[in-house]
């Protein structure tokens, strides 16, 4: 087999793994959209905020240091301790769950039975609030997130496959991407099990279908919302860790949400497996397109390819690949 073949395979595998990273973000959207029909604009910022919180806790940063220093004229920056990674992740998760409670208590509760568009507007407001709040709490400089996952290319794999063909130097796969893939698979599997085989999961699906009827059988919408937003916060934390470890924790992290949009259009807004498959199709599609067509049209196709693909899907299959069919009886 020729080197070209192996290069193509390498591109596909890398595409798959990039796609999974998109899926991690898309998952958070799906969870909230399924349960409340609301497109949560703040999902990307939640990932950023979660990552910032994790770094802050891990490195022992003093929250609101700038604010405190300005008001009291102190020079606080760090507590001077480091929190072990696992504990820091758990604490960050705790912060995200607390955040879910606050969102329910101060925003969602007051918007019961309003149109989805009004809730959507509320999430836009929430996104900008969180962005500012995150900066105020942890500072706006670019931070380095290290949770102990291996970085860089996998040398063992590269060496092992380097003599498979002439002119082929072995598969170059990023360790971090491989970890992200494995974690995403576990995450999705557990979310699917949770939603299909537990009582709370069934209640989540019931609320997604008809929240009035869910209320009538004694499912508390407020509890469900807290659960859903906590789950979305958890997914945001995972996405934030992966993306933060890959490209640093900075403002642009919140823009990965934009990459999740075409994934959602492809996979369907209501399907957890759809988010994963959609992400993979987009990942592979944009890498292959860049590899095969890019050189002829000047490259940088990755910036727009996903959106064009999503547009095509909107025309032919508006509910996405795995989206729930809109049941209409005549």
């Amino acid at each position: 087999m020729s080197a070209d073949f192996f290069y193509t395979v390498e591109v596909i595998i890398n595409g798959l793994m990039t796609g999974v990273m998109y899926s991690l973000v898309a998952l958070g959207f799906v969870l909230i959209f399924k349960a409340s029909g609301v497109f949560n604009y703040a999902q990307g910022v939640m990932a950023l905020f979660a990552a910032m919180t994790l770094v802050g806790i891990q490195t022992g940063q003093v929250p609101f240091a700038h604010l405190i220093n300005t008001i009291f004229g102190t020079h606080l920056h760090k507590f001077g301790w480091e929190v072990p990674t696992l504990l820091a992740i758990l604490l960050a998760l705790g912060v995200m769950i607390l955040f879910a409670f606050i969102v329910e208590r101060y925003i969602l509760k007051h918007l019961v039975n309003q149109d989805p568009i009004i809730l959507f507007m509320a999430t836009i407001g929430l996104a900008y609030f969180m962005e500012g709040f995150g900066d105020l709490m942890w500072g706006s400089e670019i931070k380095n997130l290290d949770v102990g996952l291996p970085q860089g290319g996998n040398i063992w794999l590269e060496n092992a496959t380097s003599d498979w063909a002439d002119g082929f130097y072995g598969f170059y796969l990023d360790n971090l991407d491989m970890w992200a893939t494995a974690i995403a698979v576990v995450l999705v599997a557990s979310l699917i099990v949770f939603s299909n085989y537990t009582k709370t999961g069934r209640a989540l699906r019931a609320v997604a279908d008809d929240n009035q009827a869910a209320l009538s059988v004694g499912i508390s919408l407020r509890t469900i919302w807290v659960i859903v937003w906590s789950l979305a916060g958890f997914v945001a934390l995972v996405a934030g860790i992966m993306w933060g470890a890959k490209s640093g924790v900075q403002f642009s992290l919140s823009l990965i949400a934009l990459k999740a949009l075409p994934v959602l259009m492809l996979g369907g807004f209501t399907s957890i497996p759809g988010a994963i498959v959609g992400g993979m199709i987009i990942g592979v599609g944009e890498k292959l397109f860049e590899f095969a067509v890019g050189p002829y049209i000047g490259g940088a196709t990755e910036n727009w390819f996903a959106y064009v693909l999503a547009l095509l899907f909107l025309v032919f299959r508006p509910q996405g690949l795995f989206g729930e069919k809109i049941i209409e009886r005549v």
């Binding site: 039975n113 069934r202 699906r205 008809d210 009827a213 869910a214 499912i219």
Partner: protein, 274 residues
């Protein structure tokens, strides 16, 4: 047989309630009624009379539709339930079956039924025994247990909605317009099941219904609502024989067919009602 409800203890007592939607629209102007244990109580009246609102005021689904009970009291077993949320009420044994067959479309029939057991904490064994009981009353649902509820027929969806409520092990079911949009034969079938549940399982029903004819045949006692007020009440057997009920709700009158000329007297006679 029809009078059994009269002698037994009172479960639910609604006392002169007033309901306002959105802070401005006055829907109920003082409705009082009692639901005895072990009976079927019918709440009759035309469109917009306030039947559904009365049920929602009791089950407190009103809040989520921006309605509010502004006057009066609602008591269940002597305790005020005006401030309880629907979940707390379901735990106490009061559950509403909403009008218009609100099923969870994408869930299977069996999953739909199981959501009814959400508030229960008495173990899986008891729940699956009740599931079996529901399937016994609604054999059709057993056949369709794996299909998505959205794809079942209207009658089956109504059965799912009732069966789902039964899964919460209710003492009182607030049943809103079960006959809506169903063929007459199915309506009979559903009312027969309601009767069976009432007699064999001892479930009390408060039944809002436009189909006065069917409702009065199955109920023990009835209330007639008009424009947010109770205008008539009594045993179902008495209501059925009442000449005004006959004329205004059952569409038969002693003097035979009315001509257009009588419309004015009809209006005048009806005025006392509202």
């Amino acid at each position: 047989m029809l009078d059994t409800g009269e002698t037994q203890e009172t479960l639910l007592e609604v006392n002169n309630i007033e309901v306002i939607y959105n802070h401005v629209i006055l829907v109920l102007k003082g409705v009082s009624l009692t639901v005895p244990k072990g009976g079927i109580t019918a709440l009759l009246g035309g469109n917009g009379a306030g039947k559904s609102t009365t049920l929602k005021a009791i089950s407190n689904l009103l809040r989520s539709e921006r309605g509010d009970v502004t006057k009066g009291t609602i008591e269940y077993r002597g305790e005020s339930i005006t401030d309880l949320n629907p979940a707390a009420l379901v735990k106490r044994g009061v559950i509403q079956v909403m009008e218009g067959r609100h099923c969870f479309e994408h869930l299977t029939v069996e999953d739909n039924l199981m959501t009814g057991a959400y508030t229960r904490g008495d173990g899986k064994g008891a729940v699956s025994a009740d599931l079996e009981m529901v399937y016994e009353y609604f054999p059709r649902l057993r056949e369709r247990r794996k299909s998505q509820a959205g794809y079942t027929s209207g009658g089956e969806q109504q059965m799912v909605a009732i069966g789902r409520a039964l899964m919460s092990k209710p003492e009182t079911v607030l049943l809103d317009e079960p006959s809506m949009g169903l063929a007459p034969q199915l309506v009979e079938e559903i009312f027969e099941i309601v009767k069976g549940l009432n007699e064999k399982e001892g479930v009390s029903f408060l039944l809002a219904e436009q189909n006065t004819n069917v409702a009065l045949r199955y109920a023990h006692q009835g209330y007639i609502l008009e424009s947010g007020r109770v205008v008539m009440e009594g045993l179902a057997s008495e209501l059925r024989e009442n000449p005004d009920v006959k004329e205004f709700y059952l569409g038969v009158s002693e003097e035979g067919r009315k001509s257009f000329r009588d419309v004015r007297s009809y209006r005048r006679r009806k005025r006392w009602l509202s």
